[in-house]
Subunit: 111 residues, 2 copies
């Protein structure tokens, strides 16, 4: 699972991240709130941790997980080039950008 995009493709992982967005949670917190099996939660957390989406703090036997923003920032950055498609002042900008690069007057023979 190379990329950050692959990581958040999994619905349970997104649910975990969304849960952690509001406040940190222990493994069993997540397990109960999301109705997932404990091994499943642990494994998803492992993946999220390896990818830098979360980090753990130790509280006795518990591991309390919290968000790390970096990979999410990456995703946000990837979306940047597309924002012009839904930002308000897109008309002129779009007409400028969204056309074939040399603007041939007609479609001729090939390639």
């Amino acid at each position: 699972m190379e990329s950050s995009f692959g990581i958040i493709a999994e619905p349970n992982r997104r649910a975990i991240l969304s849960l952690l967005a509001s406040s940190e949670q222990s493994v069993s917190d997540i397990e109960h709130r999301l109705r997932m099996s404990q091994p499943s939660v642990s494994k998803h957390l492992r993946v999220l941790r390896d990818a830098g989406f979360v980090e753990a703090r130790i509280d006795a036997q518990r591991r309390v997980y919290r968000i790390r923003p970096e990979p999410l920032k990456e995703l946000d950055a990837w979306l940047a080039p597309f924002r012009r498609y839904w930002s308000v002042h897109l008309d002129a900008l779009e007409r400028h950008l969204d056309r074939p690069e040399k603007a041939p007057p007609k479609r001729r023979k090939k390639r």
Copy 2:
């Protein structure tokens, strides 16, 4: 492949979207620029089209594909709750939000 997140988990699909971000392209345009096989391009475009990320315009034998913003907007929206983690004025806000919901004075027995 239910969700929009699953769709963009695939690197070639992201590459196609990024290419289309600057301007619309025909299938063979994409094929050559991204050095992918033609069936692979067509299949990825099919997935992207079914998920609403792109739409096609017919130009003689060619299909010219372009971005449709809606699903990307969705992704952008999903990121919203996390933005506080990297927006500038996060200190006070974060201290407000990132804590157990009832703030128990101590960790007691269990659950």
